[in-house]
């Protein structure tokens, strides 16, 4: 339990991302410099449409970077890989696979035997309270359960880095809070680096060690805030005075960025 993560370091140096060519060209990211330590929980906060998700795409290896350098554990990122798990906004469970088959997918791809796969998927689904749903299909589950299975499918592979793109924003407030608490306890247990994209100040503060605030498109890093709230964090924290003052500080930064006079018209 006390072991600390040694893998999962992320380094971005002068990363630019452009989409399209000619008149329709759009720059999504501009000169992103960011270092994330192994085992750190970092949130990326910014106005909608600013290019937050592009960072996830670049880290995951879907979105090629136009300039700069992007490394995970000193290795240049060029393609998707199982050491970098991704959780999207909407669940991406395979509709044709049962809950257990979905969770076992990554293990199957690595050539893990059937018995071992079943043992691991049962264990992780059990720990998430999904033991009774092993042979259900995704469409038979609620939104919160689907996102839990999605998380289990990524975590069962023990990735060094987990990239989350507004994973809880389509859930209702109550379920979202439960998912946030679940994520924190899993993160504590599994020692992985988390990059968590969100547009919600509360969520970023509640979860993270550090919050990176982005500007409007093309996104640059506007500022970063270190969150020194004690861990383990519980929902009581959300109404504490330190939390509220940090939240006010972040909101000012965020709204300032949204209504800045240099906003492209």
């Amino acid at each position: 339990m006390t072991e600390t993560a040694t893998l999962g370091a992320i380094a971005l140096h002068g990363v630019d991302v452009h989409f399209g060519e000619g008149k329709t060209a759009v720059q999504a990211l501009s000169g992103i410099d960011l270092n994330i330590a192994p085992g750190e929980f970092v949130s990326i906060l910014g106005p909608s449409g600013c290019g937050k998700s592009t960072i996830i795409g670049a880290l995951a290896g879907f979105t090629p970077i136009t300039a700069g350098e992007l490394r995970v554990d000193a290795e240049r990122v060029t393609a998707p890989g199982p050491e970098r798990g991704v959780v999207f906004q909407q669940h991406t469970l395979f509709p044709w696979k049962t809950v257990a088959q979905n969770v076992e997918f990554g293990l199957k791809m690595r050539g893990v035997g059937k018995a071992e796969r079943e043992r691991k998927s049962r264990a992780i689904l059990g720990s998430m309270g999904l033991s009774e749903f092993l042979s259900h299909y995704p469409h038979q589950l609620s939104g919160g359960m689907q996102q839990r299975v999605n998380l289990a499918r990524v975590l069962v592979n023990r990735p060094r880095v987990i990239l989350m793109d507004e994973p809880f924003c389509s859930l209702d407030a109550q379920t979202r809070l439960q998912m946030q608490e679940l994520l924190l306890s899993l993160w504590h247990e599994l020692h992985m680096t988390v990059v968590f994209v969100t547009h919600e100040v509360d969520e970023a503060l509640f979860l993270s060690d550090r919050v990176i605030v982005l500007t409007q498109r093309p996104a640059r890093i506007k500022t970063e805030v270190t969150v020194e709230l004690p861990r383990p964090r519980t929902r009581d924290l959300l109404t504490s005075s330190e939390f509220v003052s940090l939240k006010r500080q972040l909101l000012d930064l965020l709204l300032g960025s949204a209504f800045a006079p240099d906003t492209p018209s």
Partner: protein, 292 residues
């Protein structure tokens, strides 16, 4: 004969009525009844009424726009039915058609699903294979008949070819459509979970396109029967289409209707088979299934 059909319709009618009364007196069974039995009874009653109308129109030789004077009555068709279903020649006609469908449709399904997956997935395949197919696609299968006769040594082969053409394009287009409709995020998700290109194909592209493929297969089954029957009428020896056309030229009118009904039943049976296979392979494809 005539009265037998009518009395059958009447008895169906009364049984429906008495069943209705039963539901009134025993409320707990009402749900099971209305769910299972009632649709069957209503369907049977509807078919019976149509038969009665047809019988009356034929017997009284009604001519109101449709000319019923030469149309055989259901009872005559039933007589031809009883006579011919036992005859080995009729069974041979049906057997011929079924074999042609089986061959042509299977070839078409195999080839078009494979091509459709490639065209839908790989740009190179789309650019090289799709344009020639797009030129051929609007040509109805029937228009291929003269060329098919020239292309193949035997009439048998040319008819299998027409069946193939009939099924090929609907299945191809549905497969391409199915592959293109796959949520890209599912492909990304599989890649981040360590899937290689072949895994993506087997685990994501194929199952993801399956609902569309099954739809294509059931449309293709319909069009391949359509094409086959036409081909048999024009160039056939044996086969249910040939049988139906021959009945017309020999003025054996009840046999025309018998042939038509048989074609209908064969089409219905084969599309039922496709649906059944589809359900077997896609237990997950039930958007309205309850979570129990």
């Amino acid at each position: 004969m005539e009265s037998a059909v009518q009395s059958a319709a009447v008895s169906a009618d009364t049984s429906a009525l008495s069943a209705d009364e039963a539901t009134l007196s025993v409320p707990p069974r009402a749900t099971a009844f209305s769910r299972r039995l009632r649709p069957v009874l209503v369907g049977a009653l509807s078919i019976a009424l149509w038969l009665v109308a047809w019988q009356l129109a034929s017997v009284h030789k009604w001519n109101f726009f449709f000319r019923f004077e030469n149309i055989p009555a259901p009872t005559e068709v039933a007589a031809a039915f009883a006579e011919l279903y036992a005859a080995p020649k009729f069974a041979a006609h049906v057997g011929n058609s079924v074999r042609r469908i089986f061959l042509g449709f299977s070839l078409a399904a195999g080839l078009s699903v494979l091509l459709g997956l490639l065209i839908g997935r790989f740009r190179v395949a789309a650019q090289s294979l799709f344009p020639p197919l797009e030129i051929l696609r609007p040509i109805p299968a029937v228009a291929w008949i003269p060329l098919a006769i020239l292309l193949f040594a035997s009439a048998e082969q040319s008819m299998v070819f027409i069946t193939f053409i009939g099924a090929f394009f609907p299945i191809l287009l549905s497969t391409i459509h199915g592959v293109e409709g796959i949520d890209r995020r599912l492909v990304y998700a599989s890649l981040t979970l360590g899937a290689g290109p072949l895994d993506v194909f087997r685990e994501v592209i194929l199952p993801g396109a399956l609902p569309s493929i099954v739809t294509g297969l059931s449309i293709g089954m319909g069009t391949s029967w359509f094409s086959l029957v036409t081909a048999e009428m024009i160039s056939g020896q044996f086969g249910i289409g040939y049988y139906t056309w021959e009945a017309y030229t020999l003025q054996q009118y009840p046999k025309i209707v018998l042939g038509m009904i048989t074609i209908g039943l064969l089409g219905m049976g084969s599309s039922f088979l496709i649906k059944w296979i589809g359900r077997r392979f896609m237990p997950w494809f039930k958007p309205d299934a309850s979570a129990t």
